[in-house]
Amino acid sequence: MRYAMAIDTKKCVGCSDCVVACQTENNVPHGYARDWIIEVIDGTYPQLELEYRSERCNHCDNAPCVRCCPTGASFIADGGIVKVEHDKCIGCGACIAACPYDARFVHPEGYVDKCTFCDHRLEKGQDPACVAVCPTKCLYFGDMDDPNSEVSKVVKKRKFKTLIPEAGTEPQLYFLI
């Protein structure tokens, strides 16, 4: 089992519904977010290219945030989901400094918080909240180890990129381009 997400940058319109859905689903405190939208403009006028990316934790296979955690609060759960156990976290900030994607933040209660791929929904057989809500259906989620899962199929079929692969983190978000 290896959970992963594919994000179709061609279909995303940058509406931020995934952000709001996550904030609602996970009770993310006001002013914080576990996922976010980035708009990239590339090129020289008039040859401009626009790309929207819905970003979140990459649930890296080689996760520096987990390695640097002194207490074991950051760990890799079933299916490769990178999680934080709140009662073990001392809020030292090492994992925040270690994440090249800036995917973590300190919850006002002191522990570190981040995307969980909505594992509480996965248990019930549901998709993560962001995936479920996306109006253009540009987010694909599933098991990369299963060749018939939606995410495996779309990653096989389409051209994709991952973010800063050269950082060696082996990220598990596939951006379809």
Binding site: V19, V40, G72, I90, P100, G110, Y111
Partner: protein, 313 residues
């Protein structure tokens, strides 16, 4: 041209951690850790080499301050924690890949050792000190028999502690400015140098001051070489590391770093120490004070700038 805009809920300073997850507490803690390591190193080294009478400040006086320095450092570390009352979790696990974990356990060994050493020599700072209870006197007597072993422990642990203050940062591949293995030896050298400076400040003995000044001069030369080496390494590395170095080579930290850390904190004191060896009379406290000032500022700048340096994607 390539421009990235954040168009959603991430556009707030609370989630963007490169807007300083580590503020003043961590650099202050790193400085104090390095300084303590420097003092312990010289105390252990000179004791083992039988120079206790030649360098009384280094062996007997300065180490008495170490437990205090470490306690303040640990307090700063505690202040940095955002989930404070779970701090004991640091000691319910050991994570071999986590520098923070190494640091926490190293300090757990260094702290009692430095307290015992300080207790053995406390009379050299407080001549009227009296261990009121006989059991305390007995304990001191007993422990005095193991000074050699302790000195060895101090030298080894001081090196680990000094290197750790650099490795804590260099282990972060996500922050290109920190991600260089030179940071370990560099912070160790800087810690030893501030330790030597601290001893010069305390010493009332001219030959000791002179000798420690010479050692400091040597350490500063190594530090300068390591700093130049670090920037050369960055400039020859990937784009993100070139950009990290550029923050110091024309960018926003250029003036602060080269004027205050490099010139005032290294070159000027080295020059003053050199002039002293030539017999020029210079108030002895200027050079070591500058070294300590430079050591503090260096850590603040490195921690701050490192958090601004990042991968672009």
């Amino acid at each position: 041209m390539r421009e990235e805009l954040i168009v959603s809920g991430r556009s707030n300073p609370l989630i963007d951690p490169h807007l300083e997850i580590w503020e003043w507490q961590i650099p202050a803690y790193l400085f104090l850790g390095g300084l303590a390591a420097g003092i312990l190193f010289f105390a252990g080294l000179f004791y083992l080499r039988g120079r206790e009478d030649k360098y009384p400040t280094a062996v007997r006086v300065a180490p008495v301050f170490v437990p205090v320095l470490l306690a303040i450092g640990l307090l700063f570390l505690f202040l940095d924690l955002k989930h404070k009352f779970y701090f004991w979790r640091l000691y319910t696990s050991f994570s071999i890949e986590s520098p923070t974990s190494w640091g926490a356990w190293t300090l757990l060994l260094v702290m009692p050792l430095s307290v015992i050493w300080a207790a053995l020599y406390i009379e050299s700072v407080f001549p009227k000190w009296d261990w009121k209870y006989t059991w305390a006197k007995d304990a001191i007597k007993f422990l005095s028999g193991y000074k050699r072993e302790m000195a060895w422990g101090m030298v080894v642990l001081a090196i680990i502690l000094g290197i750790y203050t650099g490795i804590l940062l260099s282990a972060f591949n996500a922050r290109p400015l920190w991600n260089t293995s030179i940071l370990g030896p560099l912070f160790l050298t800087s810690g030893l140098s501030t330790g030597a400076a601290f001893i010069v400040l305390l010493s009332k003995n001219k030959t000791e001051r002179h000798a420690m000044g010479m050692i400091d001069l040597m350490l500063i030369s190594i530090e300068v070489a390591l700093i130049i080496h670090m920037f050369m390494g960055f400039k020859a590395s990937t784009r993100v590391q070139i950009e990290a170095a550029d923050m110091f080579l024309g960018g926003q930290f250029t003036a602060t770093f080269w004027v205050f850390v490099f010139s005032l904190g290294l070159i000027v004191p080295a020059f003053l120490e050199f002039m002293e060896t030539k017999g020029k009379r210079i108030p002895f406290y200027i050079a070591p004070s500058l070294v300590i000032f430079g050591g503090i500022l260096f850590r603040f700048i490195m921690v701050h700038a490192g958090q601004l340096s990042r991968w672009l994607y």
